[in-house]
């Protein structure tokens, strides 16, 4: 679902005035992109849904502070990225119960998964530093500009480019066996 800039501005204006229906429209417009970013950042559907929920709840509470000079997308990405980074930092060093990751369990499923290129890619993405992962996903998956990524993460465009290059090279290295 895509809102035009005009209709989105109107939704924001009404939501800021406390109109929950207007805010629901905003959530419907942006839910896929926020969930997608969360899912790829966290690698877990349950956590991703929690992060996406938290993002919108926080957006509702902070809507009064939203400045129109940044796009709503960029603002929501910033909230979502921070939420995901916090969740990743809070994760225990052990694998989550019920969510065995590739390499954690021996068995037929494990072997099949390890042999798939997408599994290798997921491992490679998980092994990126969280900052590199955020830059990579915001650029390659979400299509944000360097300036937008810089604004979302609070870093310079030069730092965005540097982290992005390193992340891309790590993925390219990881894909050597599958090319």
């Amino acid at each position: 679902m895509v809102a035009t800039a005009g209709s989105e501005a109107e939704l924001v204006r009404r939501a800021r005035a406390g109109d929950r229906g207007a805010f629901e429209g905003i959530v419907r417009c942006h839910q896929d992109q926020i969930y997608r970013l969360s899912l790829r950042m966290l690698g877990d559907a349950w956590d991703a849904e929690e992060a996406a929920q938290d993002t919108f709840v926080q957006a509702w509470r902070r809507l009064g502070g939203f400045r129109a000079e940044a796009s709503l997308s960029t603002w929501l990405y910033r909230i979502a990225t921070n939420r995901c980074l916090n969740m990743l930092r809070a994760r225990p060093p052990v694998e989550p119960v019920g969510g065995p990751e590739v390499g954690a369990v021996e068995g037929p499923d494990h072997i099949v998964e390890v042999r798939s290129e997408v599994a290798s890619l997921r491992v490679a993405i998980r092994e990126l530093s969280t900052d590199q992962r955020a830059v990579l996903l915001l650029r390659e998956s979400e299509g944000c500009s360097y300036a937008e990524i810089g604004a979302i993460l609070g870093i310079s465009v030069a730092a965005v480019k540097s982290r992005l290059h390193r992340a891309r090279v790590c993925l390219i290295d990881a894909m050597a066996a599958w090319a």
Partner: protein
Amino acid sequence: MSLDPHAMRLECGADAATLVQQVVDGRVAPTGSHQESCELCQATLTELARRWRVADRWLREPVRAPRSLVESVMSRIGGSGPSDRHRVATTPRGATTITTRALVVVVAVAALEVPGVRRLAGRFPSTIRSRDQAGTITVALELVAQPHADLRRAASDVRRRVVADCAWLLGLELAAVDVAFVDLEE
């Protein structure tokens, strides 16, 4: 071919970041006089493109948010939130409510006591979902079964046990219990 993230240039002097950017932008054909005459640059571009294709396909794959997301968000900003309360009894002397947290604990304990159930799939409590629509409460849970378990029977037993425990311990009548076995494990 191995690319060192710290290596800034190829042996021919070409800028590695430029070649990577070129491939990511989908411009695989050599551009400029150096690339057109440099076999190393051409081989590197071809190899980079082959490797990047897998990542690019996955990164651009569409992902849809779960259907429950909007409803959950609206529920939370409406003040009821994930720790919303279910009304189980109302008398002239007051109402009795229980939280979703209490509900999912009872559901989890009941499900785990059923033979054939190995464990909850995913993290507790988010692996158990409850929905209260105008007092009609439904529960959905994902489980890991033991190998060789009769899954249809186990699901039926989970459903029966969860309904019974919620009624007995909480005084809560469930309209439906959706059970999904998502994996098997010793």
